[in-house]
Amino acid sequence: MILSIASGKGGTGKTMVATSLALSLSQERPVKLLDCDVEEPNAHILLKPSLDCNQAVSIPVPRVDEDKCNYCGRCAEVCAYNAIAVIAERVLVFPELCHGCGACSYLCPEGAISEEGREVGVVQSGQSGNIEFVHGKLSIGEVAAPRIINEVQKYLDREKLNIIDAPPGTSCPVVAAVKHSDFCLLVTEPTCFGLNDLALAVDVIKELDIPCGVIINRDGIGDDEVDKYCLKEAIPILMRIPLDIKIARLYSQGITLAEGMPRWREAFLELFDKIERLMSNSNGREGGRQ
């Protein structure tokens, strides 16, 4: 099973939920945690995994052999990203614009273009207690977050429970992180920002046809508009975490809720039971997801 934790708005508590859920469940079954917030991965701060395995992620960018090149300009013509330009008798390559599609090297009539890897990030994995941990890290100054996320997703294991910590937002990195999920938990807070961004995230999750439920974090700080929205959209609210300065202080020190306040473990186990029940209900109705 693949369970992702997402939110439109950042800082609503995705990582706190993902790590506490993983810790609570890892007592009774094999759990993998995949941190797909590759721009700002934080789960390792709370889980302190070994991270003994490193794999560089590269984009194949063109290298032009000027001895073979006759400056016909075909490579520049086929590049959709303006990453290669032919000016008089010179070929200029802009590696940071290249998406690594391979069109230029394949279509060069002279066979003058080969490809070389350009590192844009890293995937690291290791163990944290009973949890198998994987995260991706985008290099500073790079833009290719979805590429790193796709590499992290190769570590998904259908035989186990996979918990994905997704990035904030609603665009391509979020889609890359949640697209294989069987269920998505959306963490929000009861403010106008939380509601606005929750509604955007729900649109994405519905577009991807993934069943979802909501967790309201810092319950009590704002108003009841998120409740009303969930009722109207028939989205179940699966957990409420109250505004509690003790929780905020624990998080600030990098301590999960499951460890710092062990009574929460039961609540996370119950949360998972609810998700399983929701899924078996919808599987019965729709014949299951692949």
Binding site: G10, A103, I140, C172
Partner: protein, 286 residues
């Protein structure tokens, strides 16, 4: 005209609350929301007039069933796994690289530009605002950020405004980089949590990579004074000024519920620190 961008690395540290307060304190400025995924600034500025325009970002390949011979070449070369065994393109996976379009021997593939979102120009009681809404599950957020910034610059030039105040996106990737090019100053709003510190260092790295000057604002600094101290020390080693230390106060959320910038809600310690921040910002810009 000078542009200041508010960033954070980590989401939810208070970028938008700070941005809305700076909107309230600054004169002669245009506001722009560069968080095109999840724009929230307009919720506090309550825009009155809006011009809505379409944003067409990237292209997607489309295969004509009639012309396709099923030779499989497109599937073979596609590195984005966007073409199914039935030769249908998954628009979410398609990167718009045109490789398939360029090699299809049957000319069965066309490239179609898709509607990727909308952008808005509006008036608020704080001055003009430009913001956007990226379409559901769309890419090209970086392009849309560049577009809203361009429009804000245009408005500033037209009206002779002194400042562009930009509410940036979280993270360190494509939209953040797009919101940084050519700005005069980045204000990074952080919080004294281990995650906040980790993400602060990364986003400072991005600003330094693109040679953008940085100042830091610690939000909720008293939630963990040891971590706040660590942030101060780190900033000192990087020669970065910590311009404001905003205390934790539930009135920030109360102002949010009332949908007004926190500096207008109460002139207490929170408001005073944000005023101080604005003074430091103008010092850098002028």
């Amino acid at each position: 005209m000078k542009e200041v961008t508010i960033l954070s690395g980590k989401g939810g540290t208070g970028k938008t609350s700070v941005a809305a307060s700076l909107a309230s304190l600054a004169k002669n400025k245009v506001m722009v929301d560069c968080d095109v995924d999840a724009a929230d600034l307009y919720l506090l500025l309550k825009p009155t007039f809006r011009q809505k325009q379409e944003f067409r970002g990237g292209e997607k390949a489309v295969i004509s069933e009639d012309k396709c011979t099923g030779c499989g070449l497109c599937r073979e070369v596609c590195r984005f796994e966007a073409i199914s065994s039935e030769y249908k393109i998954d628009p979410i996976s398609c990167d718009g690289c045109r490789f398939c379009y360029n090699i299809c021997p049957a000319d069965a593939i066309t490239m179609q530009q898709s509607l990727s979102g909308h952008w808005f120009t509006s008036e608020t009681r704080y001055g003009p605002l430009v913001h956007a809404r990226l379409g559901v599950a769309q890419e090209n957020s970086g392009k849309l950020v560049a577009l809203v910034r361009q429009e804000a610059k245009h408005i500033a030039e037209q009206r002779g405004l002194d400042y562009i105040i930009s509410d940036g996106p979280p993270g360190t990737g494509c939209p953040v980089i797009s919101s940084l090019s050519g700005v005069s100053l980045a204000v990074i709003v952080t919080e004294p949590t281990l995650s906040g510190i980790h993400d602060l260092k990364r986003v400072i790295g991005v600003c330094q990579h693109f040679a953008v000057p940085v100042i830091v604002c610690i939000n909720k600094y008293d939630i963990n004074s040891e971590n706040s101290h660590q942030i101060e020390n780190y900033c000192q080693t990087q020669n970065i000024e910590v311009a404001a230390r905003i205390p934790f106060d539930t009135l920030v959320t109360r102002a949010l519920v009332r949908r007004i910038p926190v500096v207008e809600y109460s002139r207490n310690r929170v408001g005073r620190e944000i005023e101080k921040l604005w003074q430091v910002v103008t010092g850098y810009l002028n």
